[in-house]
Symmetry: D3
Subunit: 255 residues, 6 copies
């Protein structure tokens, strides 16, 4: 099966890193293709960045549909464009925030999130509410590092994340930590060893959930509110979406 891991920002180094982490965790027979939009922000640190990045995510899903992709991962912790992406395909689409929350809930009763900048904490809070994990998460913490510091000041960034994870461990009465940025996909092992708690990272979690859904013969429901969008006219730079009629590939039958 092929999983398209979409890095919603346009920083190639991050896409490469995310793709490597995804492939490393993938099952034999799972082919990870990591992509990034042709257009968009180099990092996602605000609602604005996230809204713009959603367009690129959707373009990547449409491209994936043409390529016969079996599952998608949206590799930014805000899950930008998640429900819209689901409308475009019969394949499963997994956001890394939701993936991490689901996994954390399976191995612990309460967890904390350690993200990059404090200003993005509200995005995580809103997702926790929408997904149902508000009470599973004790606290949303930030290491206060810009996303691209994960690329450019890796050691400093790692140290600050570890420090914040240790505070979470010592103060929050939790069983696990969720890392709140796709750019941390390669740090899980090092952080978990430094902190001594299970550390859940969303990219890898999402890959395994995508494999799980596909393995069940399931895909995004096309009944009701995630059905393919009604075809219609678009104007201007989005004119190419006019008359869009995705139909998706038939899924294998549910056993």
């Amino acid at each position: 099966m092929q999983i398209r891991v979409i890095n919603p920002n346009t920083t190639l180094a991050m896409t490469t890193k995310i793709g490597a982490a995804a492939q490393r965790i993938a099952a034999p027979g799972t082919d990870v293709v990591a992509t990034q939009p042709a257009s968009g922000p180099v990092s996602i640190e605000s609602h604005f960045d996230e809204a713009i990045s959603a367009v690129g995510v959707l373009e990547e899903v449409l491209a994936g549909e043409r390529d016969g992709v079996d599952a998608y991962v949206i590799a930014c912790f805000g899950d930008p464009g998640l429900l819209a992406a689901r409308e475009l395909t019969r394949a499963p689409v997994i956001g890394i925030a939701e993936a991490a929350f689901h996994m954390a809930a399976l191995i612990s009763t309460r967890f904390s999130i350690v993200t990059t900048l404090g200003r993005t904490g509200i995005i995580a809070e809103h997702l926790l509410e929408q997904y149902g994990f508000r009470h599973h998460c004790r606290r949303v913490r930030a290491a206060e590092i810009p996303v691209l510091d994960l690329e450019e000041n890796g050691e400093m960034a790692l140290n600050r994340i570890i420090d914040e994870c240790r505070r979470a461990r010592d103060e929050d009465n939790i069983g696990a930590i969720v890392l709140g940025c796709g750019g941390m996909a390669d740090l899980t092992g090092e952080i978990s060893r430094a902190v001594g708690l299970p550390v859940i990272e969303g990219v890898t979690a999402a890959v395994k959930l995508a494999e799980a859904v596909v393995g069940l013969g399931l895909g995004t429901s096309k009944q009701g509110d995630l059905a393919f969008p009604r075809p219609k006219a678009f104007t201007g730079q989005f004119e190419h979406f006019s008359g869009l009629t995705p139909t998706g590939r038939e899924l294998p039958k549910q056993k």
Copy 2:
């Protein structure tokens, strides 16, 4: 004061209608400018439409900032791009869904929503949850009319909406009805007379809330998670956002 009422879709007739309804309700001294994005879907009936339309909404807010706009209204019931738009300005930005919910909560204890297509009900449900009105809303109903039928089959559409509103009145134990589409902005009076319940429509509600916020000398908080986005590089069709450093106009001091 100038309010920019942004119709997130690109159907001029709807923009015109919304603008007229907004101006009609505006206070003396409020100048309504109704705009629509240069690019985007002709109607918004899915998460996909909504995600794409958010870009145009944000472009319109940035244009408004150059024009010295005092307040913004996002005139689609999904409030597309609301939090992102707020990051771009010191002015208030009001979504029509939130506006309608706030107003309905001030004049009744429980309300129902009557929207266009059933598939968009989930968007309203998620907003109710995020905004805190889950328990104020008894039921999300749909008249099952495509948005553009409001333009093209107006009488049929109106009749179906009235029918659904009457069912809400008779079955839902409510004190008010919220209309769930910006394209219904001119129908409030007729529906309220036909149904005999207060009917809240978001475009007009948002205009009055925008005037209220401005009148208080308040605007979008620039502290914390709605601060201006950090400037950064964007690529491709979004390159013009690179280095974006909105600063907003100074608000009049709070009295």
Copy 3:
């Protein structure tokens, strides 16, 4: 239009101050009449004070109905008698706590409340729950000053409020502060300048919301649970309520 701003306590200095703040914020054409009950506590700092004050609030609404008032504001942060008052009139009735919460939710994602005495915090908590803003409010704080200190020890009171607001700003991860007492209606500007965060005060917020509701041609729903009370006998000091059959003035039609 005429707004009757009801100070539920019987301290004339506070009524005057509240009235002035309300008139200052009101739109041209809005006539504010500030009143206080003939009977009741000189300040409201407990459930007991609040329950007693509700009677006076209701008397004032009934008096307002005779005077053809267009909207009412209940200027105590516990919103005493709010739903009962709504039953008595077709006009909108706005509590200052709800008004402040609604406004705070429009300009920030999370806020804290700074009130007078800690013992009244539970009143705010219950209102947050009932109105749906529980998750929007990070923390209810108290400056631990009796209400009348706002009149009699103004500078000391202001300093303590500013101190507590600064703690809220520094510790609570918020975008705005809600002032939790009608007696702070004249302090908004000074506090917001001292703290550097938007400060929302309920009396002024309620005036603008009342104007907004009236501007929309809306009023309290008379369908269902806010309909006029059934007329009946009352005994003793409340005998004058016997057979009470308020009918309200016709609202202008919804446009």
Copy 4:
């Protein structure tokens, strides 16, 4: 021990009936004194009635304090004045709505409420939310009978209540029914036999809970937000509350 059962309305027949039901259920050694305010509505069917009745409830508690009462029951299903009453005494004060909810939760997982008029349903909904029983209650139903019909058209009223209880039993997937009016205190047995489900009535439930709290050596907490109100001036018809400094009797020590 002496329990003062306060009927918040001023209909003597109802006070007598409530008192009889309370005494019948009371433990040996419990002396029930049923009282009603000197002033107030003859029945409580709206927020307005409830707000006015709260004053009488508080007067009755103050009278009870002078008489050395050991516990209070507020015998109207809206629990009018409950938190205010608790501020006035060290003795427990039990509302019949809360009492019925607590008891229903001990013998079933889900219950429905059958009340008098539909318009009072919102009062029950708000109490369920505040007390924490929102999810335990499947549905709030109304027999659509005015409260005084329980006195004046007893058989008709009983039949309508039984009919509505049967619908609750057949449609709501519940284990118990809560009767939503103090005036139904004498109907429990007949209704439970007719419906075949446990029927919880608040007056009797409250008496037993009051006995339970007193039996534990507990009373209303005087720490924090239920402490005695701060003494202050009251004006007009409430002047006699000026300087009120209730101190309560010492409770027996907790064992």
Copy 5:
């Protein structure tokens, strides 16, 4: 009436202590029989201990049914086997955690819990959620003492509990404290005097609630989801449950 107070663990000293506390608080005419399972853990400090102890609880209820018991108390703060026990009898079954929560809610608006080991806090959290008291409880605290220290190192244990209760009083903005372990049943008086706040202990609370339910002529609902279990085959060490057809004694009629 006879109340069977079931200590779910098998430490006789604790059973004796619990029984004595229960009898001391019981009404004249209430006969407390304290029992413990023939099989099970000597203390309950984990989900595992709790799951095993539930079997013994159920055996004790079945034994009680043969003895004509009128009410049951499950005297461990996790309420192990509570809903299962209710299925086996028409009599009321009261867990000490729920009992303490109900009582605390009647005398205060907010409380904190002080339990033994931190690891059992999650059990209390889950019960608060299920029972509806999540928002009434400010904080779950632990004195970090193993349960049997209450027997073997009584003074040290008491001191640590008092210390933690004082921290709760000083930091949590509460009106009452709930003790989170059946083994503290004899400490209520001493702790409440040391801390100066009402202290609610579950065993005694449950006895009074059991008396209250019985006094109302109520018992566990046999309609719907708490009906007697369907008889069926059991194997192995549980074979004696095969064909189990409890029918319970007839309750006295509801008055």
Copy 6:
């Protein structure tokens, strides 16, 4: 890797069926061992059955630990003994109810549950609340078939389930259906084809989630409230648990 799929009841035909469904869905390299307790009920249809079955589940986990099992599935829709089982091992333990809920939330926004007997609906409701999926589930429905009818009256049972699933599809505004019994593990394909909606079955979902957790190098957190139970004495038929000191195998390091 080896997954031990524990059928908590003692009906061999069901164990075999569940094991076959689990093995069929398992990845290459996953070895499913389906087991059932030596002691317990032949089916689980009540809280009582569930409480008794938990003991057998825990025995099976302990046996699995001796065998070096990599992951556990608890194959009854009430997830009996789930948190207790997690305490006993470093391996992941997945309940089929939680598994189905997680999967349903990944492919739809709202789902309904179709279970066997109505009386077990409350178990699903409590799990939805505890796990955070209350708002994702529109309705809990029952086909009203005893569990063993799935073995003994297969065709009749299937037809009733399909009928109920169709009602869910037509009335509930959902995107997916969750089957509420482990005994339906072989029916997913047939039901999904008959109903035309994605159908999620917990046994298969749990196997894929178990593989996912193991694939991530994760296991049950041993920090905090899911740590191994403290060793202690047990008496009677549970004496063999005395001094139990599970330590689990080292997990592979997180990558």
